[in-house]
Amino acid sequence: MTIDRSIDRSRAPQPGPPRPYRFPNVERRTLDNGLQLLVAENHNAPLVAVRTLVRSGADHDVAELAGLASLAGELLDEGAGDRDAIRLAEDLGRLGASLGSGADWDASYVSIDSLSRNFDEAFAIFADVNRRPAFPQSSLDRVRGERLMELIQQRDEPASIAAKRFSHLIYGKGTYGNTVIGNPESIARITLDDVRRYYAAHYVPNNSAIVIAGDVHASHAFDAVSRLFADWQRADVPPRPEITPASFESSRIYLIDRPTAVQSEIRVGHLGIARSTADYFAISVMNALLGGVFNSRINLNLRERHGYTYGARSLFAFRRQAGPFVVSAPVRNEVTRESVSEVLGELRRIRSGDVEERELSDTKNYLMGVFPATVQSSSDIAGRLLDMELYDLPHDYFDRYRENIDAVSKEDVERVARKYVDPDRAVIVIVGNAKQIREPLGALGMPIHELDAEGQLIA
């Protein structure tokens, strides 16, 4: 082979012309009972991803029964139609299909991923799980026990403790504040009746969508859904409870002691904004630049410049209602104070109007360019379709995504930074070795409240 000496490695090569990309075509139908259907064909692999979206989640939990939505969701695969849990697993295993179910804050999900050659049989089982779950008492008892064990384990997990305390401080005992899986007291209260009532009230066609992406023909998929879901009865769904967030007049620190900690888990943040915000694209760009990607201000500061952490990030949780804005950073004990200081510094700086052209274009180019790589698989495509349904996104959302990001200007980024990032009214939660970090943190000049792991004030 002749080596091409015309290649100049002293600088980055120029790209070729961009290659076209279009999000897969999405076929839509609505059944008479209100069930929305979306199908995207993708014949690149012999796989199909099927998802039910139920537009109710843990946001409907009342405090006394926190964890109900998630428990109800999880119990769907404990038996359906003629099959008990074991038979479900065996029959699905033969088909090369795997089943999942559960809930998060805004929605509940049932999912099946199958070899496409067995779509019909796998889908029939999927329909059973959706329509005729058995909800055996013995399963509730056992899964309740598993949840309790999970909560027990979380007592030692610093990231879990930090997340729980942070959410609770922002949202209290209401929606978004309880944790999706509940707590030991609430889980102990949940009865089979509660589960059946939740299922009956929310898993109804006018509150749901079925998304199918993969190696199946759209017409065949629609037929299967119609056959097995057309007689699903609609019903009115209870209204979504509203969040009752707290607000804070000034920033303060909540410290939870973990004597064995070699790192402090730091969370800095406050109430964010709902997915439906008109500023969604500007905030997405701003957050990516601030702390959403590896080459963001917060990560480059704490990791690459200072070596304080393996990774620090910022996030807006765009939910149906306003999720939190939170910066997360696990750092070694000795630099806890410095890390908090650097994070607050970055939150102030992004509001100061110093966004540079290069970091803005790098960030926008990343968001615009990376999208195709994140939707290669049928499972990824199905996930995007679920988002479209859950957040009522326009049908041309993915086609217009690039231009919407591209339209975000420096002024937009600075405007939304000032509007949505508030370092002076933030909640700062730190799970760490109190003996080692309490005194240095005092030098930051903010009140420090010490909590136990359950969130009770100690001092």
Binding site: I7, P15, R303, N365
Partner: protein, 418 residues
Amino acid sequence: MLSLDSYSLPNGLRVVLNEDHSAPLVAVNLWYHVGSKNERPGRTGFAHLFEHMLFSGSEHVGNNEHFRYVQSVGGMLNGTTFFDRTNYFETLPSNYLALGLWLEADRMGFFLPALTQEKLDIQREVVKEERRQRYDNVPYGTAFERLLNLAYDSDYSYHWPTIGSMEDLGAASLDDIREFFSTWYRPDNAVLTLIGDFQPDEAKRLIDGYFGPIPAGGSFPKFALERKPLGGERRETFASPVQLPRVYRFYHLPKMGDADWIAGDLLSSVLSGDKASRLERALVLEQQIATDVAAYVLPTEATGMLMLQATANEGVTVEQVEQAVDAELARIARDGVTDDELDRAKTRAEVDFAHQLENYDSRADLIGMMATYFGDPGKVQTWLDPYRAATPAALQRVAAEYLVPDNRVTSLFVPENA
């Protein structure tokens, strides 16, 4: 069938191309045949620390510019280190193929001029934080490390995990890094896999231009990887800040790809993975003495491992869980597995493989593995054949021969204050 075009450059770099225009992307993937097993005691964690260093720039790529070059065009990138290899990969919009190749070639051939003490010091701190975050600050975080320590003698290169120890990381010097690079990071120790939306002639021209001038290295250090038998079970009880006791088991297997390793892989699917699996059904559903169980094999080149773990429910002792696990293993050794169980395990293997082939980046990594561990990227086409051919008798024999006390390491994590 994938269409693969494999060849080598004169400097020994192996190249595999898989043209696929279903998405306007290219996956660029490099496997270097070096990992934690190429370290020595006192210098553990080097391969992984070195992986971090390789993102910090090279002669023509400024500090932190590597990440920026890729992210600013919509690319995703990362690298990982394991016992036997270190991989580096990026998925880029396909019109940026040359960028990916330029970056990989620059750090393969021109890394040393950009190496500084300051970069080493920062990445050392980052890696120490990684260790804290993933191993030292989480419950059960050191389990795998403890199992390795027991399973392999201290002079065997799998004795330590890839993260290394805090002490050894602290001792790493610039000279150590230079030596590591010169010994292992060279075209004749690497496989470049390229998948996606490219024109083969253009890709080959770029590969030749960027990688061709990088010289091959000298001889490789010799490694003896013949593992001494355990000579009886090794076990420990480790009191640590955990809430629930957990049983960890480690069984030696032949190396990945061996017929018995494949049977072990299928056996781990029979043992765990869904509610009908042996351990989950018996321990979690029926007896309700465990809250979770898992069994799996690891893709290791020198020698194989089957891992098993079960977390006790509150009020259940670790002895009870151990006995229940052993009862299930003994049942399989005595009575075998059913045809249906084996068929389901085979189907799961097929599905998992299909998922790995679906995305360009995971497909490239599979191919890199086949080329590196087995010397044949084409093995990706036939990888499932021995899975399909496995018999219930083979699984029964592997259970009876390998999943036994004399061939196992046990680590019992128990709460400190119990």
